[in-house]
Every structure is written in structure tokens, then in C-alpha cells.
């Protein structure tokens, strides 16, 4: 059970990393909502995923 808990815990970190990468990709390359406001929104949304992957927050 402890091993299963650990696997789920690590999986969620990997998931956070994956979503962070998706956000980063969409920040540079997207076909809709290409204005600067959306760039700022994408960049802002990237912060919590970055901090979680780094084990800071």
C-alpha cells in the first residue's frame, strides 16, 4: 500500500510536468487566441506547475 501511494504521488508530479509542458507548448504555438493577453495568461498559468515540478510548492 505504501508503494502504491508512492507511485500515485510520483505519477501526479509527472502529470503536473506534462501539463506544464503542454502549457509551455501552447504559449509558443497555438492557432486560436493568439493575442498578447492570452500569452500572459498562459505564462501565468505555467507558474504553479513549474513550482510543483521543482518541489517548491
Amino acid at each position: 500500500m505504501i508503494m502504491l501511494e508512492q507511485i500515485i504521488h510520483v505519477f501526479y508530479f509527472v502529470l503536473a510536468g506534462f501539463i506544464g509542458l503542454l502549457i509551455l507548448r501552447s504559449f509558443f504555438k497555438r492557432t486560436s487566441r493568439t493575442g498578447i493577453i492570452y500569452d500572459i495568461v498562459y505564462a501565468y498559468c505555467f507558474i504553479p506547475f513549474l513550482l510543483r515540478i521543482l518541489g517548491i510548492k
Binding site: 505504501i2 493568439t34 498578447i36 505564462a43 505555467f46 507558474i47 513550482l51 517548491i56 510548492k57
Partner: protein, 396 residues
Amino acid sequence: MAAQRIEEPRKEVKLYFKIIILLVTLVLAFLGGREFYELRHFKETFVSSPGLTEVKMLSDYLPSLKGTWIDTPIFVYDSGVPGGTVLYMANVHPYEPAASLSAYILMENIKVKKGKVFVIPQGNRSASTTGMLANAYPKFFHIKTSFGEKKFRIGDRGTNPLDQWPDPFTYVHYPSRQNLAYQDIRNMNRTYPGRANGTLTERASFAIMELIRKEKIDLSIDVHEASLMYPVVSTYVAHERSFDIAMMAAMTLTATSFDMKCESSPKSLRGLSHREWGDFSDTLPVLMETPEPFIDRVVGPMTEELFTEGKDEFLAVAAKHGLTYVPYTLDFGSPLWYRCGRHLSGALEVINQMNQFMPEKEVIVEWPTYDQLKEHDCGFFFHDPAKADQKLVFKI
């Protein structure tokens, strides 16, 4: 005629501009992250009294906790004279700072003449390394001493999500199978008696139970703080086996020092120390609450002053309308010396009552009292780590 949507011409942001935005974002992430990192890694320093005989770790009672952020030191003060055994446990909820502060004051000054005392100043150490989400809490609070300011962490109620994540949709308590709020799976005072192979918080709770059982703790005191609009403020909460002791202590304190109520631990609410410690071991459990205005929902800005002095005009208005469960005025507030003093004298009084009810389990102990804290304030009781015997200086 069908309305036709007019497409706006696409305005592509130049790559160099995107890179500037990303750099600004990384700077913001660095500034924010630095604060979180500081709270996560800051260590509190204290100087133990020379009466210290042993330092154990929670992982000594459950090895799977070794190396985790929830593993925490346990300080043992053994008089060498046979008698009873007492546990003083603080900071199960690290946003209730009078608990850990009172534990530090206790450990800096304790003298045990009979029996043995175990002290855990950081019950849920992981929870003390993260701030309260969305409540704009300050990260630290400071206490003035003769050798400068001492700095302490302000933590959260539950285990840091960096250490236990994700939360389930519903938390099913073990072994009662009672459904509790999902976030309480990280709340150590909802996970007793715990289990050896459960979540990190359940394992820590199980290790506390093992400590109580293996060390044959006679009296276990769990130290907390409560909002003034919560009925269980300024109260002992006691298991039915420790209810006589707690009730006598409450009456004695109310007659001699400060108002103290006493409530019986509800049998239908599971996972709490005053219930499960008593049901799953032979100890006499007592939980103590002091008034902490900082965690009341009606208060104004969440400042360090509110945390340490407890003065808030909105709460004073609420008190005038009879909405608080203890008297409250803006002139006095609820300062840290008052809250720590209540805990320290509150614990001494339940020990005194246990001595009278069960002379064979007598514990004779001294540490600063409510009256002494009223006279000198908290900082007076700390010793300078730079001048102390380095074997007695600890960082947690």
C-alpha cells in the same frame, strides 16, 4: 437572416516578445518560489534544559517514516525516579503557534523531579513547512528576547501536499469507515489511530499511537488553539477515562487563574486524539484549546501582529454582539504570552490532578507558569543558542 460571426484578424505576437513575457514570468516564479522555499527549509532553533536525557525520532516507532518530512524529534526528560509518564504534543496543526511556542518554552526550562516527560514540539512537521493556501498568512512570526529576535514558522493545518498528494474525493477514516472531509486525509487530528501501511499522515498518527503504547504514556496532552467563534475554545476535551481529571483541572484553574471549560470527547466523531488515543491505548488523553483570533473568519488583515497580539476590531464587534464563546476586548486581544501561559499551566494542572487521582503514577515537574508568562512575556524564557552548551542546541 442568420447572423454571421466576424473573425478578428489574427495578431501574432513576435517571438522575441514572447520570450520577454516568459522571462518576466520566470522572474515572478523565482520571487514567489523563493518565499515558499524559505518556509519549507527554515529551521527553528531552541536550547533544551539540561534535564534532557534522550532524543528519539518518530521513525523509531515506525521505520517507514525515516527520511520523510513528517519524521520529527521527540525529546525525553527522565528524572530517573520511578513515577508516571507524560506526553506533551504540540503543532499537530502548525497554524496554531501557541502550541509549539509553549513546547519550546517548556523544553528550555523544564525540571523533572519524578517520572518522565516526552515532548514533541512539531507534531506534524510536514504541515509546518507550508503556508495556509489562499489565506495570505505571513510566513513567520518573531519573539523578542534579550539576545535578539527569534523566528518561528507559521504553517498549515494539514500535511504539505508536496509530501502527500493527491487528496481523494472522500476521505474514509480507518478503521471506523466514517466519511470525513476530503482534505482531512492530511489532517493528523483526523487520522488517529492511523495505520502502519496507510498514507503518510496515517502512518505518522500510527507512530504516535505506537509511542504512547510502547512507552506506556500515562497522560497524553495534545495542545491546540481555536477560533473564538468555535464553542470548544478555552477548553479541555477529554476522553471518558480522563474526564474526571480534566474536569477537576478546569474547575481549579477557573477558581485560581483563568477560565477553563471541559468537554467530553464525542464518540461519534472519529480520528481525533482525545477519542482514538483513549480507545486504542491505555493513556489518559486530554486536548487543550486556547483562543486564537487569527483563525476566526471575521477578522481583518492577516498580519503578524494579529497572530502574536490577537487584536482585531471586527472580532471585538462580534464579541459585543455575543457571537464569541469567550469574553474578548480590543484592549487585551489574545496575546501569545496569554495563550502559552494557559497551555503551560493547563498542562501542569492536569498533571497535578492525575497525581491526586493516581498517586502511583505521580509526576513531579516544573516549567514556566501562566503567572510567570504574564509577568515576563514569552521571550524572557528563551536562552541564547550562541552562549549555550551546543549539545543542547537543536534545530527543527
